[in-house]
Amino acid sequence: MSVRHALLALLAEGPKYGLQLREEFVERTGEVWPLNVGQVYTTLQRLERDGLVESDDAADPGPQKGFRITEGGEQELTGWLRTPPDLAAPPRDELVIKILVAARMPGVDVHDVIQVHRRYLVELMQRWTRLKEDEDGTDLSFALVVDAELFRLDSVIRWLDSADGRLRRASVEPAPARATNTGPLPKMRRRVGGRR
């Protein structure tokens, strides 16, 4: 999560103090991502060094020091909004690795392992949904952040469901053995997202 650009976005509304920036950041992100004052000041110092914000030189460093965005900062912010985050390379997902290992390990029922994770994720989703229910849809930022989390967890459960089904089918109709596939984990034959 880019604290740097979030602070620039807040300063694009007008000059602000450091402490005020921290409070507004937490509020605008539905209070889901906490941010300490130290992080705010370190980030502001770097932004100033890079010429993206300016401060009141006269004031002492501290809560009373005001900051404002520069023209360079505004350009940086506009560019960032339209730059897609790097989702091309698949992350080395711990859950995917656990399921790959469980599918091959003697004496381990991979479907039980899948169910343990599925239950945990559904319980997590229940807790997020409960937050949304209590909030009653009045805090828009909060609803957006909670939805993002619910969709993310949901996508992991869908992957587990599909893995569950695929592994069941594979155990009923075993695929012909491949000479190349002898390792403990299936080899990645293609590098996904490598074409850049």
Partner: protein, 238 residues
Amino acid sequence: MSVLEMRDVSKTYGQGPAEVAALRGVDLAVDPGTMVAVMGPSGSGKSTLLTIAGSLESPTAGEVLVSGAPLAGMSRDELARLRRRSIGYVFQDFNLLPGLTAVENVSLPLELDGLSGRRARQRGLEALDLLGLADRAGHFPDQLSGGERQRVAIARAVVGDRRLLLADEPTGALDSVTGEAVMRLILAACKRGVAAVVVTHDAQLASWADRVVFLRDGRVIDHTSPPPGPESLLEAER
């Protein structure tokens, strides 16, 4: 007392080599004011569980009780009365009668139960009003949007003094914001004391429930624990 109790319920279809076990020894209890979601892949027995809970089918073995009364001992008439008075159904495809207006759809079960047309209509209007549809009462189903039709179906399911709401993929093809509104309505019915069973393969839907039961090959294989307070979620990250 649980509104719905299923004890060691099994259901098999067909005979001999063609025999298929749709449910195997399912235990499930749903208390007033709670929502239970039943999750499982296609063919896991979700819909069979719901039709047996709603007395539309009888189990091959085991017992089903609605508000403490065993269904097995009831005559056809008694079962029909139970379905009209105590059990509401919400289906994915709404199942509204196209020739009746919204309020007529909602009040029909009350009229069938012997309530006068005028009183049934009054109760129907109240149920629609509760779901924010008072101004759509005179519309026919094809004049309503998908979300509105599903709200009419929920109004029909909770009209009168229904104690048990059974829903099969109730948000069906609705978009996620409209689907959320539907789940909030079912939850509101639960807050008024209704017991609800929602069958779904969708985790986002299931996460509205107090308890999620996982069904696989006709068996309950797992269920969620009651969630700790939601505050813990944000505190944990601090």
